[in-house]
Symmetry: C2
Subunit: 385 residues, 2 copies
């Protein structure tokens, strides 16, 4: 099996792109990544996307973006795993290069959510849940996460304010990221007084829907230095799944697929959680940050929230998270999110994270979650010295 | 790169499955394939599907089918490439095993089309075309194929009746396939008198929409004989794309992606078109059969139709096609079709095709087409002697 590296990344700002179609957004991220990697041809393009059919009446997105990007003939496929679609595309690209079947592969996440006419975004997102046993009964993703947050507070004796620092930290990091949707800090007071969405979740627990596209170019590590001064080695890539319905989980507060996916990734890379320098986690809601930190082995059960409280998660903390704003402040264009995470980890490891740069980062991890934890993709990246 | 083989296949009949949900259909094909392969655990499941979001309000199908099938924890992803989704899932599974990342992988195609309420199937299928430049202007897939067929007749001087044998041959083969939707032969008279759908295409040029699921289990060839008496080696797997819009093609009557995908597959297998024993092609409409035969190198341009006329395509002909009924008679559950083709090639090579068995088949090829030729997946399989 060949070793694989990232030789270039590209992204467009997460925003409401009223003037751009989904194919244009994909093209812009792809061409930026190709310029960054100094490549002009590709063997394959894997496009992570969840809702193009629902929101743009367009499937067949792999061929469409390849075509619009002038890559006629290239292998191109759409990859879907709900909000983990971007991360799943990364895994497919990793396999393609690792196998020896492809040399230069683009992995992209793209989603266009804000200027669609007609369809209800909340109902669209509910297609990540179990259609027959959750969505049909009115459960939306906010309400699923509200159930989890309420249960967490009950089990472990926290109050809502204990979650505030996840959002405050994300917004503080969003300020320095030119591609973030929200670039303003928030205060504890603002968090406490934010409008309720589904009790106990309020607006500032929640990541915003958005438009976005991010892309990375993968190549065999053996030739990566010919294309990049700072190639980033893929030390691990793994996917694990759990039940789609929350009510079928063995323990609702334990993200089993996140634990399994992280454990597979640690084994693959030959590292432990304590070796990870920083962690781009899937903070769709503040409760997800707490559960992710626990499942990935950074905090004991019920202690995830404490890492927000004691400053561990800040840029100079023990385990910086959401260093470029996370889903909360950078924004959450669902199928694109996993590739924003990958691009951000790569930028940190390349020391190109601007004002958000973390010191001495050598090993970065991204974890992309689909549904309420049914699909989890873990990627561990390392700067080649 | 590891050599990959099919160690088991499973399918459910193509039909109107009023009593089964999409997850049940997927489970039934998967469990049949696992029993056939004598495996009880899997490393990954790749689910080819196009329209579960549109028709069943359900995305996240990889995790959903893994969950329902009792495979909690397994890597699982949905793969979409319009009507080539099943074939594309095969390619992802091939990469997973070839890379060494996975040992036992299920590749599935599944689609549920017939008992949906509300959505318009024709509009759903149009999401395989270019939403902005084709579907928005009212082009459906039948009308796109009607334009192609009319042009073919004009360019090469054929009449509609010249296409009849593609449909007659498919129905003759459907009779002997217990999983085919249509098991009755048709006559030239019936073909000639069939109701028009989009002139010159009539009902008997057209494959039916349907429900279906088919699955194959892949493993490294080195251990395949431990699981199957008749392992089937994957000699080649390739994907190529072309423009999504028909009007952007260099030559509308030349399926460039089919030619490219076939040529990559021949190179990979080290064979030529003349080495192929039989060909499961993508006869969504009779015109597609003619164009596929030409693009894959079995007939000169404008001569594809002649292979239907001179008997070459029959079970005892020079190049048997659609040996189990093809899309026309076995049925076309869009995202599942590519995996039905793979399962059928495997059954022929294992000499388990019942009354439809071809003599001396050693090398079988399947070609799965998405859109009007925008994505084409070619797979070449061989019986290990």
């Amino acid at each position: 099996m060949r070793d694989v590296s990232i030789i270039g990344v590209g992204q467009i700002p997460v925003a409401e792109h009223w003037d751009k179609s989904i194919r244009e957004m994909g093209y812009l991220a792809l061409s930026a990544a190709m310029r960054n990697a100094k490549v002009t041809v590709l063997d394959a393009l894997y496009v992570g996307n969840m809702l193009s059919g629902e929101l743009a009446r367009q499937e067949h997105l792999g061929a469409l973006i390849a075509d619009f990007s002038g890559l006629r003939g290239v292998e191109a496929v759409k990859i879907e795993a709900a909000c983990a679609s971007g991360g799943a595309a990364m895994r497919m690209g990793y396999m393609a290069v690792a196998s020896g079947l492809c040399n230069f592969v683009a992995v992209m996440g793209v989603e266009k959510m804000t200027d669609q006419q007609g369809p209800d975004i909340t109902a669209g997102l509910a297609m990540a849940a179990d259609g027959d046993y959750e969505a049909l009964h009115g459960l939306s993703f906010v309400s699923i996460n509200a159930l989890l947050m309420r249960r967490y507070m009950h089990e472990y004796g926290y109050t809502k304010g204990d979650f505030a620092n996840f959002a405050i930290n994300a917004h503080a990091n969003g300020v320095g990221n030119p591609n973030a949707m929200f670039r303003a800090p928030i205060t504890f007071k603002a968090f406490s007084e934010a409008k309720s969405v589904a009790d106990p979740i309020n607006l500032l627990d929640s990541s915003p829907i958005a438009d976005g596209a991010a892309c990375a170019i993968l190549a065999p590590t053996a030739i990566a230095s010919e294309f990049s001064d700072k190639p980033i080695r893929v030390r691990a890539s793994s996917i694990a799944t759990d039940t789609v319905s929350l009510h079928d989980r063995r323990e609702p507060l334990w993200l089993e697929a996140a634990a399994l996916s992280a454990s597979r990734a640690y084994d693959m890379a030959g590292v432990r959680a304590s070796d990870i320098s920083f962690f781009e986690l899937h903070d769709a809601f503040t409760i997800m940050s707490a559960l992710s930190l626990e499942a990935a082995g950074f905090a004991a059960r019920g202690h995830g929230v404490r890492m927000a409280q004691d400053g561990s998660i800040g840029r100079t903390g023990k385990l910086p998270i959401t260093t470029m704003g996370g889903l909360k402040a950078r924004g959450h264009p669902v199928g694109a999110t996993g590739m924003y995470q990958i691009a951000e980890v790569a930028l940190q490891l390349r020391e190109e994270a601007g004002p958000n740069q973390i010191a001495n980062a050598s090993l970065g991890m991204a974890q992309n979650i689909g549904g309420s934890g049914a699909t989890v993709v873990t990627t561990i990246l390392e700067r080649i010295k």
